[in-house]
Symmetry: C2
Subunit: 214 residues, 2 copies
């Protein structure tokens, strides 16, 4: 009997489903949905192709299972922004968490990037509902901070876009980053962290355009 759509009941099911998802993340994030093949995933997973299809109904189902988990994890750093916190600490903390995520989950970042790049055919609806609602909520917090003069006035949603763009760049374009910095250059993340801190830090100094200096 197929173990496809039901929740895992046995130890083997739990382990193998996870093994497959790991392998699929590896392959899908590097090749995109169409570029990836079941044979590649099977090889990385160390399982046979029919065995993959014993645990998941189809290639689509594997991909869907990956995306399902992904968006939630991906938005955790944004959710963690505390409306009652200090704007500087909250914004810079968000940037730091997001950059950390790019460093430690580059495959997830690339999977997401691939999906969006190709028009988000299997994620589109969630973007317009869940994602939009969360961004709207946090943008309102940013807007309030701007009203209170504690943050330079910019379009709050685009400010969030900026955080996404700058942090995800280091995962999605890692090859380019490394090529430009050169082979002898070490870990690019510390310098990235410092540069983002300066860039966003300046948005918090003397907000409103006036009150600079002690």
């Amino acid at each position: 009997m197929s173990a496809g759509s039901t929740r895992p009941r046995t130890r083997i099911q739990r382990e193998n489903r996870q093994t497959i998802l790991d392998a699929a993340l590896e392959v899908f994030s590097a090749q995109g949905f169409r570029g990836a093949t079941l044979d590649q995933i099977a090889e990385v997973a160390g399982l046979s192709k029919p065995n993959l299809l014993y645990y998941f109904a189809s290639k689509e189902a594997i991909y869907a299972a990956l995306l399902e988990t992904l968006l939630d994890t991906w938005l955790d750093p944004l959710r963690a922004i505390d409306p009652a916190g200090d704007p500087r600490a909250e914004l810079l903390g968000y940037v730091r968490r997001k950059l950390e995520m790019s460093r430690e989950m580059p495959r997830e970042s690339r999977l997401f990037a691939n999906e969006i790049l190709q028009g988000a055919p299997r994620l589109g609806s969630l973007l317009a509902t869940d994602l939009r609602a969360l961004v709207e909520e946090k943008a309102a917090v940013l807007a309030r901070w701007m009203d209170e003069g504690r943050l330079a006035r910019v379009h709050p949603v685009h400010l969030i876009f900026a955080v996404w763009a700058l942090t995800q760049h280091y995962a999605d374009f890692e090859v380019q980053v490394r090529a430009v910095l050169g082979p002898e250059a070490g870990d690019p993340f510390p310098a990235a962290q410092q540069m983002l801190e300066t860039l966003f830090g300046r948005l918090l100094e003397g907000a409103g355009g006036g009150q600079s200096g002690p």
Copy 2:
């Protein structure tokens, strides 16, 4: 005889090669290399598949021809930075040109993003040579401006990364941008332009950390 690798000699060759490249840009940028099919490109081009292969030796050759032109065009805005110019005008001008490019050439941006995302297998060498050299050259200019106290001190190469990330985001992640802003929202680029101007503008005010105020 095949018209594959030689330079176009006749009017028909010039026209059809261009038609094919246009169609290929459309399809490759939306589906990636492996996701795109010759049949799709042929249909968009309004030509038969064997006819495509009369003008280009292979699918790879079409893709390579696209990339060849692309990197050069893509780096023009960076090349245009004038070492003798005013830091504010030069940096903000660069951001503006790059954002314009995202707006008017989103397909090229996505083609490039796709290639990098998948590890730049067909562009890697150029990144480490041509691209790296140009970035190195312009980073030196930025570094000098920082030495002169006319620009906040950040890692100059990462500053260039920031411009890339922020501007290309609006082309590569357009679907997400539109989903989050909502269907009734208009053109996102004016707000993006303003936000980038503020963000980078702050890097030029009171550089060095001290001389704020009139």
